[in-house]
């Protein structure tokens, strides 16, 4: 009995010790996740992961989120190189774009150093989701779009190299950061635990009319939104009142970004604003600040826009049930729009 007791103690120490180490290191956790030893917490959608409301569990999430090989363009345009800067709305492989060479930066994820091919036209498209407009384009736009955007080899390369050199090591990368979330991710995302989480969420919603603080349910209980989108008290919400001068500043900064990249050698810079899920699915939730339209129609805007909001707004079904992003249908529309732009540029006569 004594030996069994000791054995159990050592087993518990070893297991909890391993969990502790893995929880402390995000890098190690990513390695384990990539091997499939722990389930992907977003496999049913990020909003489901936050809320655990069974109604919004998107069982065919992967199918709804993944582009097919048939979505790849049939024609690649040899005289155009396409550069895109986006976020979690544009995570697709560059092979889906129709440029001769296609480069993409997932904002904040990495910095890419490129050498512009002067024998081809270089077009840059910057995609911005509505809820980040104020955050990214108002005051810190240079740190975000210049320092973390494309670094042109020979001109701005040193800066990119400095950033890369400053990256922390594998073990100490964000060591100990957000440990509670990571323990939950590591231990409590297996299906049996999801059942328990769903029960809690069900009780909270049906008894107390509460959802998890990160998610807000629509009035008709058909859609789920991020808290930062749907809560009008939050400054990034489309229902938060923004001043005309704030819009002016953003337009000025957009023009400044365009100037920056044109000076670096790009032929043109386009912006494309993706509307928030809440403004597509429940636009009348509160008074909408019409931020995208106010920017796109601003008289001082010199930067060309790929306007997609009218089409997107007529398709609430292009957004996931259990996720704040658009589905593969939205992604296809984005690709169609951008690849049409590539085609248009390929047909333009050379200016020099």
């Amino acid at each position: 009995m004594g030996y069994i007791n000791i054995l159990i103690r050592y087993v518990v120490v070893i297991i909890t010790g391993i969990i502790f180490v893995v929880s402390l290191s995000p890098a190690l956790q990513r390695k384990i996740a990539s091997k499939g030893w722990i389930p992907n917490q977003y496999r049913f959608g990020d909003l489901y992961n936050t809320s655990n409301l069974r109604k919004f569990k998107e069982l065919d999430y992967d199918q709804n989120a993944t582009l097919l090989p048939s979505d790849k363009p049939e024609i690649k345009y040899d005289n155009i190189d396409l550069y895109t800067i986006g976020d979690s709305f544009t995570p697709m492989d560059t092979s889906f774009y129709a440029g001769h060479k296609n480069f993409h930066i997932w904002l904040g994820a990495y910095v890419d150093t490129v050498k512009l091919d002067t024998s081809r036209k270089s077009v840059l498209v910057i995609e911005v989701i509505e809820r980040t407009i104020q955050e990214r384009l108002r005051s810190d736009y240079q740190a975000i779009y210049f320092d973390k955007g494309f670094q042109i080899e020979g001109k701005l390369r040193q800066k990119a190299e400095e950033e890369q050199a400053a990256e922390p090591s594998f073990w100490w990368d964000k060591f100990g950061d957000q440990i509670n979330q990571r323990i939950e991710f590591l231990l409590f995302n297996f299906d049996p635990f999801l059942k328990l989480k769903e029960l809690k969420s069900h009780i909270m919603l049906s008894w107390f009319d509460r959802t998890h603080t990160g998610a807000i349910i629509s009035r008709n209980h058909e859609y789920l939104f991020y808290n930062i989108e749907a809560d009008p008290a939050i400054g990034l919400s489309p229902f938060y009142n923004i001043t005309a001068s704030s819009v002016d500043t953003i337009v000025t900064n957009i023009n400044h970004i365009r100037d920056h990249y044109k000076e670096a050698g790009f032929d043109e810079v386009y912006f494309c604003f993706v509307p928030n899920k809440v403004t597509v699915c429940e636009n009348n939730r509160f008074t909408y600040n019409n931020q995208i339209s106010r920017i796109e129609k601003h008289p001082a805007l010199k930067t060309p826009i790929l306007s997609i909001q009218d089409t997107i707004r007529s398709h609430p079904d292009w957004y996931h049930l259990g996720d704040g992003h658009w589905t593969v249908k939205g992604q296809r529309y984005w690709l169609k729009t951008v690849n049409a732009l590539v085609k248009e540029w390929s047909e333009k006569p050379a200016t020099n």
Binding site: R9, Y10, V12, V13, T16, G17, I179, W207, F208, T213
Partner: protein, 475 residues
């Protein structure tokens, strides 16, 4: 690392199991390392600040023990000044400076001294500073009094201050109660584990199910006083009484339980305080480790109640003034302390203990009379809590004015639907029953597993997990 976090759950299981797996002579080393990790997990640099306090009092204890006469007293005073100085620097400097600025403005002068946080923007108040400073001070005082031998093992002494279960919010221990336990060989004992886990589970229930649920209402109401009706503020104040009780006593239960699982016995910190029949009794039941600290190290040295009445009143008032100040560098805490001091002085002047029951000078009497005393005491305590919870003194007065404005009463608009409100009242009833009839109940093994599973499941299903820190961490 909060007690109500997965991080702590994992830490607790790992450290406790390793504790029982290690040879006895290495256990204090494990506890010291674990405690250092626990404290550093808030902000690592806190450890350096705490380390300075530990070094000062470690050497002060040894020097005091090896000295005699006036030198002994001088060393004690120096160590106390160092401790209080630390506390004053981090906690009270800006408060004092702001009040000097205000006073000088009244006479048309300017204070040239900038606020500390302006001079050192990254400076923040180390978490639980008041708790471990008081615990350190009790060590040097007890060594001076000859009640405790100086601890020569620096590691063991560090552990006395750093011991993670009670590091950031008490109970504020005495060296006689704890230091010897770090040298004790605690064998694996199921009774200790069962008792400890029972305390942890109930403490967690009080924190995440009751306190954090009630906080939804109190935070919303006290965060926007101007737009609240009388009824909403009354409900919020009523809820706050139980929120702070469940929050703090929940923390204490988890702390005591965590230590108990490893065999350590920490002092009781709460004893059903809202069943007190007088303010004096309330303070024998509420935050007992702090009340007795002030009694032993301030009230009695000032002469206690063996002096002339006027001096006794003065002593009482000083203790509660200091108690208020201990809670925070803000006039609202000072007023809160002064209110309790005033209650006690008035009770002594008018002998309110005997009102309605002249034949019973102390506790006892008919149920209705006792009930009256309990409710009356609760109302007095609740009134004082308004100052404790409000964001400022002026806001506290605004809340009191609204609560006492009968015309302001309407259908309460609180941050909770009817179902949750009724559920919350049910939780309070459960709390009252537990405190009244099962306060020290530890189930037998079979019942333990049933109750432990039910309480843990309830904590998860009905708990509010919105990263709510324990209220007393700020002190």
């Amino acid at each position: 690392m909060l007690f109500n976090s997965l991080h702590f759950l994992l830490f607790f299981i790992f450290v406790t199991t390793l504790y029982y797996s290690l040879p006895w002579k290495f256990r204090w080393v494990l506890l010291l390392a674990a405690s250092a990790y626990f404290y550093a997990s808030f902000i690592p640099v806190y450890l350096v600040i705490l380390g300075v306090v530990i070094v000062i009092d470690y050497f002060a204890g040894i020097w005091i023990e090896n000295s005699s006469g006036s030198k002994r007293l001088l060393l004690l005073i120096l160590s106390l000044i160092a401790n209080v100085g630390f506390l004053a620097f981090f906690k009270y400097f800006d408060f004092l400076n702001n009040n000097i600025t205000y006073a000088l403005q009244l006479i048309g002068q300017k204070n040239e001294m900038p606020p500390l946080r302006e001079m050192f923007p990254s400076l923040i108040l180390p978490i639980g500073l008041s708790f471990h400073t008081f615990q350190s001070m009790s060590y040097t005082i007890e060594v001076y009094r000859g009640n405790q031998k100086a601890e020569y093992n620096f590691g063991i002494y560090s552990l006395y201050v750093l011991f993670y279960p009670q590091l950031v919010a008490g109970p504020i221990e005495r060296p006689q109660n704890v230091l010897w336990q770090f040298r004790e060989r605690f064998e694996y004992d199921w009774e200790n584990i069962r008792t400890g886990l029972t305390l942890i589970a109930w403490g967690m229930f009080k924190k995440v199910v009751i306190a954090d649920r009630l906080a939804l209402v109190t935070d919303a109401a006290y965060g926007d006083v101007a737009n609240q009706g009388s009824s909403a503020l009354l409900i919020a104040t009523f809820f706050y009484c139980f929120q702070i009780y469940c929050d703090f006593s929940g923390y204490s239960d988890i702390a005591i339980g965590t230590a108990r699982v490893m065999g350590f016995k920490l002092m009781t910190n709460f004893n059903a305080p809202y069943f007190a029949e007088s303010i004096s009794e309330f303070w024998k039941r509420w935050h007992i480790s702090l009340s007795t600290w002030f009694r032993d190290y301030v009230y009695i040295p000032l002469g206690g109640n063996r002096r002339a009445k006027s001096r006794v009143y003065f002593n009482t008032f000083i203790v509660f003034l200091l108690s208020g100040l201990w809670h925070g560098a803000d006039w609202k805490f000072i007023i809160w302390g002064c209110i309790h001091g005033t209650y006690l002085i008035l009770a002594q002047i008018f002998n309110t203990h005997a009102i309605f029951r002249p034949s019973h000078a102390g506790k006892g009497g008919a149920l209705l009379v006792r009930l009256f005393h309990i409710i009356w005491t609760f109302l007095l305590v609740a009134l004082a809590w308004i100052f404790f919870r409000a964001n400022s003194v002026s806001e506290a007065f605004e809340i009191i004015t609204k609560i006492f404005t009968i015309s302001g009463y309407d259908v309460p608009q609180i941050a909770m639907n009817t179902g949750e409100f009724i559920f919350s009242l049910g939780l309070l009833l459960l709390l009252v029953i537990k405190d009244k009839y099962f306060a020290r109940y530890i189930p037998d093994t079979r019942m333990f597993w049933v109750l432990f599973a039910v309480v843990c499941l309830s904590c998860y299903l009905f708990g509010v997990f919105t990263s709510n820190q324990f209220i007393y961490f700020q002190f």
